[in-house]
Symmetry: C2
Subunit: 324 residues, 2 copies
């Protein structure tokens, strides 16, 4: 097994090697721009790691890895249009730098290119790979729609929230691992178990995101904390707070949710204090640990070498204990 950076370099080299047509420039330049923004590249790394751990040839998994990363970046591009996000990874979003139409159309093209790249596998695994990829894509759209629906609702349950983040973010980690397993011709059981492992890892990862937005150290987190609170984003924390707060706490939360945006700093401080009073810091940490322990337990059921398992354990531990 190789280390994370080894796989990351393979992915980044493959991304750099993609040649886009020169024209029409407004269609292809935003795709190259988006793919060059970087990021942790967790999904394609998981594909390569899983393939190698299951005895496959990683050079045959690079296209599946690349296609999944392209798909992930397509969803970010269209999500940024829908969320009116101005910045992604420190740079202007595509619809900000170009315009909405360019973002919509180049995103569409990224989805088709992603499908083309994922299809560059041996004929005998083309159908299972495509089925996995397309089914996952549908789940992700459902997750994004639920996320938008939830912003209009005040009665979202924790169960609904967990299902939403499972669809919106976790199944793509599952898809990434399973794609590597398919290339390695792993057994159905191994492929299904590593998929479930990655879904639980994804849930822990997303809850860690919610946690860090409130309790992360801005110096190491790399961005301002409190953004979710300032924007009334329906995270694991806010949903739990809305469900658990009673009496004065409920009244106070309601007031902060409706306060003028100019009171941003006071709001972040007060809501953070309220979250802590309601025991949500511990509740969130416990949920993160539960999902990461489930991921580790599932990992132990997958047949792989001790060394490979150790590499996955290290990755799970670092992702759910990360500070940024």
């Amino acid at each position: 097994m190789h280390n994370y950076n080894y796989y990351l370099n393979l992915i980044n080299e493959a991304i750099t090697a993609i040649k886009y047509p020169e024209q029409p420039a407004q269609l292809y330049a935003p795709i190259a721009y988006t793919m060059a923004l970087g990021g942790k590249r967790i999904r394609p790394v998981l594909t390569l790691m899983t393939c190698e751990a299951m005895g496959g040839d990683t050079s045959k998994a690079i296209n599946a890895a690349l296609g999944i990363e392209m798909f992930h970046n397509f969803t970010l591009l269209h999500d940024d249009v829908m969320d009116r996000a101005l910045v992604r990874r420190g740079k202007p979003t595509v619809h900000t730098r170009w315009n909405d139409n360019v973002a919509i159309l180049s995103g569409d093209a990224m989805l088709t290119i992603a499908t083309q790249i994922v299809s560059r596998v041996d004929d005998d695994i083309l159908r299972p790979m495509l089925d996995l990829f397309n089914t996952t894509a549908m789940e992700i759209y459902e997750g994004q729609q639920w996320d938008m629906d939830f912003e209009q609702r005040n009665d979202v349950t924790v169960e609904e929230y967990i299902n939403m983040i499972r669809l919106k973010t976790s199944v793509l980690l599952g898809c990434a691992c399973k794609a590597g397993a398919i290339v390695a011709h792993a057994s159905d059981k191994n492929a299904a178990t590593i998929y479930d492992m990655a879904v639980n890892l994804g849930l822990a990862f997303q809850l860690q995101d919610d946690y860090l937005d409130v309790w992360g150290d801005p110096a190491t987190f790399g961005k301002e904390t409190g953004g979710d609170i300032a924007n009334n984003k329906k995270t694991f924390l806010l949903i739990n707070a809305m469900n658990l707060a009673t009496g004065n706490d409920a009244t106070e939360l309601e007031q902060w949710l409706n306060i003028d945006p100019s009171f941003k700093m006071q709001k972040i401080q007060a809501v953070t204090a309220l979250y802590e009073r309601l025991g949500l810091k511990d509740l969130a940490r416990k949920a993160i640990e539960d999902y990461s322990e489930r991921a580790l337990a599932l990992l132990r059921q997958v047949e792989m070498s001790h060394e490979a398992r150790q590499a996955f354990e290290n990755l799970i531990t670092s992702l759910v204990n990360r500070e940024k």
Copy 2:
């Protein structure tokens, strides 16, 4: 061979039979709404006709036909967002009836569902079918981008315009025919020739669209004429006019292009008269006839029964002589 309505009924039954998940409603309801809007269903009919003409089993071509129709409707949905179109086939567009985010996300889902449906073919033709479908999709995005680029330019050549409509609309007709040929296990030569036939048919069809918008009879055309002129849409006619008009004609055209929208009726009358003075009515008819003759000539090179060829000839003739 069967008649157009026979194939149309097969397609409409298959569209009605598609079952979408109930939830999330905002993701799936716009897809069902879009697919129920109707239309001529030319593309899927071409797939079924070609499959039958080449000796294939049309029941095996229905999924390719359906996926291509779903893809076509996805492009209309996203194009309507980009063009800010309010009405499609007499009904509010998805972004008007719901909102932009719903239109973007349900369009994305339609693209993935289209890919899933097109993939429901026998394993031995999965790869050529997918390659055809994805390559065509990329060409269509390029065509849409060129179309948007051209709206910002005043130096578009007729050659560039023809290439744009080839990409934006004709290649999908080619794809529809070739998909039917693939299901029928036609020879590469037959598949390539019927593809070229349909591309030429598509060019004739689109130029007829441009023509009818100016000289169609509003009673039979089913909508107001002159919309392209009112909106300065860079059609075959306007591009030719911009290239051919000199002296007073050029000055007059320039003035009408910049006139206040309240002079819409006068503008349509005057620009139509200018087009006729420049000989563009005849030029357009000649171009339409040239492309439809090329389509007929290519059709004669495809191996099929006399009866099948006759059915295609009737279709070509009716499409390029249509009044609506």
